[in-house]
């Protein structure tokens, strides 16, 4: 399998180099693989995910996507976020005054995919995630599990090649956590790449690779 993304010798600091969250980190992910990153709170898991999602800039090092270097903040990075990368946030990040349907369609609004196709995909995702009956409900009125399922539907609706999930089961009960686990695994089995940051490695067992982030360094376990 060829590598989809690669981080080479990456350092990241939030206090102008006084202390580093990530230090000389190297990371690569193959196309069609599913991996988890574990680590204690504050170990830099979300920072790593933000860097991989091109939401934040590297202090030093290189970000390589399908063999080509990409700079966060540039046009190329924006295009990747539109088409290739799907995000699932820990706090769901749904727009409260919008319905689930509208929240999902927002992701499709910026992608180049035909809006009819996006709507079709949305219907099947809503069905898969048991959200059809809640489709017109404003997200402010949903439970945590429903919100997270909606956030997953939003991330997957444009069928991104890479899905980055930040603690997708962090606030959920076991039933909901298992549903999400199932959906993400199925998505990876269709040839997409999924990276999950989690506290709970038991939920996401049976993945291709597992990493642990400690002291700014990433180790495969």
């Amino acid at each position: 399998m060829s590598e989809l993304i690669e981080l080479c010798d990456v350092c990241k600091s939030y206090d102008k180099g006084k202390s580093f969250v990530l230090q000389h980190l190297n990371f690569a992910m193959e196309k069609g693989s599913i991996a988890t990153i574990q680590g204690r709170s504050g170990s830099g898991k979300s920072t790593l995910l933000n860097l991989l999602g091109l939401l934040d800039k590297l202090d030093t090092g290189r970000y390589i996507f399908e063999g080509k270097e990409v700079k966060a903040g540039g046009r190329q990075a924006r295009l990747l976020r539109r088409e290739i990368i799907g995000f699932i946030f820990q706090n769901y990040a749904l727009i409260e005054n919008c319905s689930i349907q509208d929240n999902i369609l927002i992701a499709g609004q910026y992608s180049g995919t035909d809006f009819g196709i996006i709507r079709h995909r949305m219907s099947s995702l809503l069905e898969k995630l048991s959200l059809q009956e809640l489709a017109d409900k404003k997200s402010v009125y949903l439970s945590g599990g429903e919100k997270q399922r909606a956030a997953i539907a939003r991330a997957l609706v444009k069928e991104p090649e890479l899905v980055l999930a930040d603690e997708p089961t962090g606030n959920l009960d076991e039933t909901n956590a298992l549903i999400i686990n199932q959906v993400l695994k199925e998505y990876a089995s269709e040839g997409h790449t999924v990276l999950i940051v989690t506290h709970n490695p038991h939920i996401f067992n049976n993945v291709h690779r597992r990493f642990k982030l400690e002291g700014g360094e990433l180790k495969e376990i």
């Binding site: 979300s46 933000n50 999602g53 939401l55 934040d56 924006r78 295009l79 990747l80 976020r81 539109r82 088409e83 995000f87 946030f89 706090n91 990040a93 749904l94 727009i95 409260e96 005054n97 919008c98 509208d102 369609l105 927002i106 992701a107 609004q109 910026y110 992608s111 809006f115 009819g116 709507r119």
Partner: protein, 434 residues
């Protein structure tokens, strides 16, 4: 198309996301647009009404008027080469129609306007009748007959009234053949023929004049004299010219010329006559151009002042909206961060927020236009009564479009800086704070 509809839906959701912000911004926009629209409608309607009046004079016609002026000058003009026809008319000569004693021992009199008419021409009589709106108009006799030359020559006691006067004086009855009696207002010793009541037989009913649609207002209005005992109704009685009291009337002569050269020659002649008879009183000359220039001169300072006030109000309103939007974008940080995560550029987010404000601006300004239009209509009578400023408000598409354009511009410009500021947020920082 579906994407566009979804985009519009997003705009609307963005506008209404926060009720207090929505209400405050709408109030600011409505106020700005309302003031703009009211100012525009009032000043433009006034200007247009004045201009319409001026433009009703044909370009080759001049109006010569004067009190205590000698007739010789007029005769000279009438005989001038190139004069097609000249018209003599007497303007707003009123006589009392009714005197009555009302409770409180006050005597009230109701007056009517008399409009005399006659046509003189050196190329044959031109059939023409004068409406109470001052200038010659081809008025239609709807029943009976008009005033004939024979009536004019012998000063027959006949009158033509318009439909509205008929309704006011005779309600639903046919006025033809009925008599109206006019009472003299001024008692002049030795001129008993002018002092005695004048009974006139109604021989014709004319179609309502140019201002007929304004007449209901005029009927309601009261022109009170200093001793508060007079009501002047603008009723129109057309009578043969000899019956009018010339001493009291301002005479207006309208001359129409067949060429620009004759027109200029007449102007020169009036200037000469005015110089020659300067001790007796001069003729004032009005033409389409002088009336238009006069209208411009009167209305321009008012319009300029109104423009300045409106501009200041718009700037203030824009600053208020801007400060509201600055606060309101803070409510939408998650939404903006999500959009950026899904690849929206700073320009797209800015456009989204500015479009929301623009859409709200257009909707508010359309509503504000409606309110301003209704208010301008309602104020029409009040302003005329209180300030003697006559204007007629009509719906014009450009009022609505200008108001909407101003609403759009005001909202877009006010939202530009807050939108740009919000669109530049960093997703990572925002999501961490959220």
């Amino acid at each position: 198309m579906r994407k566009l509809l979804f985009g519009l839906k997003q705009l609307w959701l963005g506008i209404t996301a926060q009720r207090i912000r929505f209400a405050l911004t709408s109030i600011g926009l409505c106020l700005g647009a309302f003031l703009f629209s009211s100012g525009l409608i009032l000043s433009d309607s006034w200007y247009r009404t004045q201009m319409e009046e001026a433009e009703r004079i044909p370009s080759n016609t001049m109006l010569v008027s004067g009190q205590n002026t000698r007739i010789d000058g007029i005769r000279l003009l009438q005989n001038l080469e190139g004069t097609d026809y000249s018209i003599f008319m007497q303007e707003e000569y009123s006589r009392t129609l009714l005197r009555t004693q009302l409770p409180g021992a006050k005597e009230f009199s109701v007056k009517a306007n008399l409009i005399g008419l006659t046509g003189e021409s050196n190329k044959g009589i031109t059939k023409s009748i004068h409406s109470p709106d001052y200038y010659p108009a081809e008025m239609e006799i709807v029943r009976g007959r008009g005033i004939l030359n024979a009536d004019i020559q012998k000063g027959a006691f006949v009158a033509v009234i318009d439909e509205l006067t008929e309704r006011v004086l005779f309600e639903d009855h046919d006025a033809l053949g009925k008599t109206v009696t006019l009472y003299s207002d001024t008692m002049r010793p030795g001129q008993e023929d002018l002092n005695r009541p004048l009974s006139l037989k109604i021989v014709g009913i004319a179609k309502n004049s140019y201002y007929a649609d304004e007449q209901p207002y005029l009927l309601r209005s009261r022109y009170n004299s200093s001793n508060n005992n007079q009501i002047l109704l603008q009723l129109c009685l057309y009578v043969p010219e000899p019956l009018l009291d010339e001493d009291l009337c301002r005479k207006v002569y309208a001359f129409t010329f067949d060429s620009e050269e004759s027109y200029r020659e007449a102007k020169r002649l009036i200037s000469d006559i005015n110089f020659q008879y300067r001790y007796f009183g001069v003729y004032s000359l009005q033409s389409r151009e002088t009336l238009i220039a006069q209208t411009e001169m009167i209305t321009a300072p008012v319009r300029r002042t109104a423009d300045l006030v409106i501009l200041m109000v718009l700037v203030l309103s824009g600053l208020t909206i801007m400060s509201i939007l600055f606060f309101s974008t803070k409510d939408r940080l998650t939404e903006i961060a999500v959009r950026k995560t899904f690849g929206a550029s700073t320009a797209e987010i800015t456009l989204q927020l500015v479009s929301e404000a623009g859409l709200l601006g257009m909707l508010c300004s359309a509503a504000a236009f409606g309110a301003a239009f209704v208010l301008s209509m309602a104020l029409q009578n009040y302003i005329r009564e209180q300030f003697d400023i006559y204007y007629h408000v009509r719906f014009r598409l450009h009022y609505l479009l200008s108001t909407m354009l101003v609403g759009l511009t005001l909202a877009s410009l006010s939202s530009l800086i807050p939108a740009f500021y919000a669109a530049r947020l960093q997703v990572v920082k925002t999501m961490r704070l959220e």
